[in-house]
Amino acid sequence: MMPTTPGASVIAITNLVRRYGRADAVDGLNLRVEPGRCYGFFGRNGAGKTTTIKCLLNLLRPTSGEVRMFGLDPARHEVDVKSRIAYVPDSVAFYPWMTVRATLDYFASFRSRWNQETERALLDQFRLDLRQKTSHLSKGQRTQLALITAICAEPDVLVLDEPTSGLDPIVRREFIRTVIGAYQDGKPGQRTVFVSTHLISEFEGLIDQFTIIERGRDVLTLDADVARDRYQKIYARFADDPGAIDLGTAHVLRRDGREVEVVVNGNAADVTSRLKARSPETLTTESLTLEEIFVTTLEPNRAVA
């Protein structure tokens, strides 16, 4: 009998610490993913993303803290947890002597569910040759094959670790389209995606919530729409140099002569009214994209022009 915890978060990470020797790869991380969300896990290379994912998959034991999937400890309920998730890593290894067909059958043999119709549709879409040996596949084709093995199993959670890095733009787009279409369509509102990436802009439309991880800690967790509402770039141009303007907590990106450009975090109305008080010729406001929010969070002084 499969243990279940009704109403549990799909992923719950509490004060996770994982050390390698003396180095902390993950250092007190907290995050929670609810069913049906498409959750972005953003961080630079080396920020601790892959280590976190390995703890979720029970490939690494946490040094301290707690990791739960569906309310279960992946170390104690490994089979129950693994039967409900699928994982696509950044570089995929298959048995090189197997053909595409044999590889699919091999993966299917570990799964209680396998959607043949989806398999056929995706093989067709990716134009993969079933007789081809996996050693002869390109990196893009290997990722496509890994995605097929993940999606056909119809998991409750699809864990993607840097899935599109190193792929050409066409394969990337196809990849994301497949996650949206073939995966999410199966059980609308229930299919959860957890994607770690530093190629944020490609996933902009897909992500509805995200955590930015830096040096093993969560530094920002927000809903994507809330984030884009909160982080704004405001540009003002004046007829003459307006002299000193007190802009409160706004982060000044550019201040030169008649022009002012700032980034605000949640206080757009206040900053706009301070600028308006000086009667600018032009005043424009636009939201930051998730990638720009990522940059401004980690490197405030390099915030995008």
């Binding site: 049906g36 498409c38 787009r173 994301i176 389209r177 949206i180 279409g181 999410q184 369509d185 609308p188 509102g189 902009e204 439309g205 897909l206 992500i207 509805d208 994507a224 729409d225 884009r228 509402d229 704004q232 308006k276 005043l283 406001t285 636009e286 939201s287 930051l288 994209t289 998730l290």
Partner: protein, 138 residues
């Protein structure tokens, strides 16, 4: 995909993505780009095309349905409704007031006066009616 309906998302607009879809469907309906009884694209292909979360499109369609703009026919999909507001006139006016306030505020900042603003409003009404007339002829 439905004739004439083109949705463009702008992640920099500060407006939630699902609301952008809602507004653009409504505007396509107002201009006659989609007519009553015509089908909307189904959720999956639209989500794939826009490269957004399926849930975002589903949320937009649910919102459009609750506003009475579209209706879902089981097994057939979503269609634009003929007269599309179940709300009482007072509620409809109140909803519109909020949008008007935004536009008036914006006009103030852009230093566009009342007379100019009203002229523009009239011009936009005419433009939409013109588009509708053309859509109905074709």
């Amino acid at each position: 995909m439905t004739v004439g309906m083109r949705i463009h998302l702008n992640f920099k607009s500060g407006k939630p993505v699902y609301l952008q879809v809602v507004d653009q469907v409504k505007s396509a309906a107002a201009s006659g780009a989609i007519r009553s009884g015509e089908p909307l694209p189904s959720i999956r292909p639209l989500a794939e095309e826009l490269r957004v979360n399926r849930n975002t499109v589903a949320k937009a369609y649910a919102e459009l349905e609750s506003q009475g703009v579209i209706e879902t026919i089981a097994g057939k999909g979503c269609f634009l409704r003929a007269s599309h507001s179940p709300f009482k006139k007072s509620v409809r006016l109140e909803l519109l007031t909020r949008e008007m306030d935004d536009a008036v505020t914006q006009a103030h900042h852009l230093m566009v006066g009342k007379a100019e603003f009203l002229r523009l409003a009239e011009e936009r009404f005419d433009a939409f009616e013109h588009q509708r007339a053309r859509a109905e002829q074709s």
